[in-house]
């Protein structure tokens, strides 16, 4: 609960309805989409303008109250769980699409705008905002920016950081920081825009953003290829790219995932296949036709057991439904679903999947793997039960080994979900001691009192690297 003075001061800023510290509200903002993490904030506040954010920050700084920014709470790294209490600042009321600038091809909006709504607005006028996290129906753009969200189109179009070109953010002092603008080129000093993208609410609260837009691709087509050999599937991914074709989507499902989807959705997937690749290309019709044909040919040469190019939008939807039902099918299997985010260079996909399979056998767990094969971003997903402490311990050990394996293969502990609380103990594995020191220095420059999202990104203790075999 908030002290009476703090509450009164906050109420003076945002009005009585937009500050809450009753039990129901505090509980409702004690979690996000990350399994097994929960902590109660002292209060929740809903600003409606940059000025209100500034005033809230000043009050919080004066009373040394931690501030946790929050969009829709769909992140998978416990990034919004208020582990040190304080105020959760919910940005969803600041959800205006301020401008679509058709001359400069940019869009400017407030952080609470839902990702999907931006997509719809720009696509209506023939423009395109590529970052498309699987959660885009619910996630906010502020959350996307703070996590540097990726998505299915990452391979060809990159991720959120490749589109954000200007930001307005409020520092804990209440001062406003403006970075970038509508410029495509800008080398004046350090790139603070890029620094804030992926900063997970630990440096400043983003209050406005400008992103660049592309023309909407003219056409797109979908195809699927089944492989009885994991290595053949992985080689195919590299082969496609070696042939200088960059598909917009190149998704991978392993055998475990295929079986679970088939059991649940009965859409005629082959349960004996080692892997399925789902491929989509977009662009001018002639290019799309040519690329899809060549990809199909590469798959056939790689001895794919079955290659199918969708001939209609319905058939496309059918093929894509395998990928879309993946999460549903897995989530229905057991009470708790832990979706992880280990990423490797794309050439290392097959060894990585084999490592995951070895580790899951070792710990006797049910782990299925699917993900964005084109950019090496895998989502090993564990079906478990949070109430079974003994099993959860095994899950934790298994994931430690998975992250370790990823790093050994030249990869990273998270490709798009962020460090937050869940991955904090592993960050040093990836960035090293000096990396952590530089990052802590940056954090101090923005947030000297450590009020913004405390406990995230930097763990009190780093997990020791496990020694495999």
């Amino acid at each position: 609960m908030l002290s009476t003075e703090v509450k009164r001061e906050l109420q003076a800023v945002v009005g009585p309805d937009d500050v809450r510290d009753d039990t129901e509200t505090r509980l409702a903002y004690s979690y996000d989409a990350t399994p097994m993490y929960q902590a109660m904030p002292d209060g929740v506040v809903f600003p409606e303008s940059t000025e209100e954010v500034q005033a809230i920050m000043k009050i919080a700084s004066r009373y040394r109250i931690p501030i946790v920014g929050r969009g829709s709470g769909s992140n998978l790294s416990a990034g919004t769980v208020p582990v040190e209490g304080g105020l959760v600042m919910v940005m969803t009321k600041m959800n205006r699409l301020i401008e679509i600038d058709q001359e400069n091809l940019t869009a400017t909006f407030q952080p609470g705008l839902i990702t999907k709504q931006l997509h719809e607005a720009v696509e209506r006028i023939g423009l395109f905002y590529p970052p498309d996290p699987g959660s885009m129906h619910v996630s906010t753009l502020g959350g996307n920016i703070a996590e540097c969200a990726g998505g299915l189109r990452g391979l060809k179009y990159g991720t959120t950081k490749d589109y954000v070109i200007g930001l307005e953010a409020v520092l804990p002092s209440g001062d406003i920081l403006r970075t970038g603008g509508k410029l495509t080129k800008d080398v004046a000093g350090y790139d603070l825009t890029k620094l804030l993208v992926g900063s997970e609410g630990t440096l400043a609260i983003i209050t406005e953003a400008t992103v660049k837009l592309l023309p909407l691709p003219e056409d797109r087509r979908v195809m699927v290829a089944h492989f009885s050999d994991l290595y053949a599937a992985a080689r195919t991914v590299s082969q496609i790219i070696a042939e200088r074709i960059i598909p917009c989507t190149l998704e991978f499902l392993d055998q475990g995932t295929i079986r679970v989807i088939e059991d649940y959705a009965k859409i005629g997937l082959p349960a004996d296949m080692a892997a399925i690749l789902l491929i989509e290309q977009d662009g001018p019709t002639s290019v799309v036709e040519r690329d899809i044909e060549r990809i199909a040919e590469i798959c056939r040469q790689a001895k794919a057991a079955h290659v199918q190019v969708a001939q209609s939008r319905e058939e496309e939807a059918q093929l894509m439904s395998a990928r879309r039902s993946a999460l549903s099918a897995l989530a229905r299997l057991r009470p708790t679903t832990i979706l992880e985010d280990a990423t490797v260079p794309r050439a290392a996909i097959a060894p990585m999947v084999e490592q995951i399979n070895r580790i899951k056998e070792k710990y006797g767990l049910q782990i299925c793997t699917f993900g964005h094969a084109g950019d090496g971003n895998l989502h090993p997903t564990c079906m478990t039960d949070a109430r079974d402490r003994e099993e959860i311990e095994r899950v934790e050990k298994a994931f430690e080994e998975i992250f370790d394996a990823a790093i050994r293969l030249g990869g990273t502990i998270t490709g798009e979900h962020g460090v937050g609380l869940a991955k904090a103990p592993f960050l040093e594995w990836k960035v090293g001691k000096s990396g952590i020191e530089v990052m802590k220095g940056i954090k101090k420059a923005f947030d000297p009192d450590g009020l913004l999202n405390p406990g995230k990104m930097f763990a009190k203790e780093t997990r020791r690297r496990v020694v495999i075999m």
Binding site: T23, T25, P35, K93
Partner: protein, 443 residues
Amino acid sequence: MKPVKEKPTDQVAWEQVAEYLRKTLDQDELTHCMRCGFCLPACPTYRETGLEQASPRGRIALMKAVADGIIEPDTAFADQMNLCLGCRACETACPAGVQYGRVLEQARAGIALREPSSRIVRGLRKLFFEHLFPHQHRLRMLGWGLALYRRSGLRWLVRRSGLMRLFPEHLREMEAVMPSASFKGVRERLGGILRPEGAPRGRVGLFRGCIMDVLFTETNCNTARLLVKAGYEVVIPDKQRCCGALHAHAGEEEAAKRLARDNIVAFRDAKVDWIVSNAGGCGAMLVEYVHHFQGDVLMEEDARWFSERVRDISQLVADGIDDLPLKRLEHRVTYQDSCHLRNGMRVTEPRDILRRMPGMTYVELFESDRCCGSAGIYNLTHPEMSKQILDEKMIHVKNTQADILVTSNPGCLLQMKWGIRRAGLEHRMRAVHLADLLMEAVE
């Protein structure tokens, strides 16, 4: 889950509610929610309030916190559970298949031990649930009273005298769109058994519903006539009662089960192939009877028999629509889903039917899958939220430029009539039940 027998009544302390909830809430179902938030955009109360606790994910978290003993249930908890429309749009959106409707009913059963908070709600519930819905003859008496009130000029007198001003605004507005109730129900008008016309397709038991048969007798008659035209033999068992949906949604589980048992017996005795309902809210309850008797050795088998046979009128008509003698009706029609028909029974046929009716131009209503705010007696218990949701809906209805707005549930139909009136669209369009529209087209 262990059955909890002793159901405390009257003024129960919140601690007892907590204890009851800890024993009865389905922990597995609650744990199954992976908190992805995919249900948030589907939820009308989340959209109106912007508050996580008014979202499905938030409500599940609250229930789980009570079940885990992290928080104690209190009035604020109860208010949040009651603010939910029970429209179950969240279930359709959920990738993990969380059965939200079931845990909500469990939570409400716990809360109901302590009686709902406001006196109006308490009074309304008692009146409807205990004294009216379960008793067909009383409803009919009420209907008769209402009819008399209309016909006798009493209504004029009441309105003129300003007596209506004693009621809240929304009740006054609702009164204006209430259809005239009738003293005779479908069985009294058409008889207990109707012979089919043409090649026989099977024997259908008509579920007449309680309010449906008093306020919408004509729709019930049309439903029976349609089935006869489509080749079904129609039986209307006399011993059937209210479906119990409103009781179950309000947490009155025992009462709901008593009604369910009577209905199962009545239709089993009638030896029907199908049980047809023309009200989405009732239909969804009827298909779920089987869940209510899970583990009950005496009733489980009969309940399954019953639930498996339940069909919405649109499902039975869709099969034979090409054989129905339909004349051309040149109208622009749109359709508002009944939440329970769509999310509970997963029925998709009404749109197909409207598209296939000769002469009709079908226009899809933007967000037709979103609850209209009627939700049982929600529009009486939560008039403000209900009105907010309704007014938003009417903007989209207006945009369709349709002259007929079709629904498949009496509650939604009344709400739509109220909405049309509120939006000042009475001269441009009307709201009708699908069965009535079909009968208009039958030659």
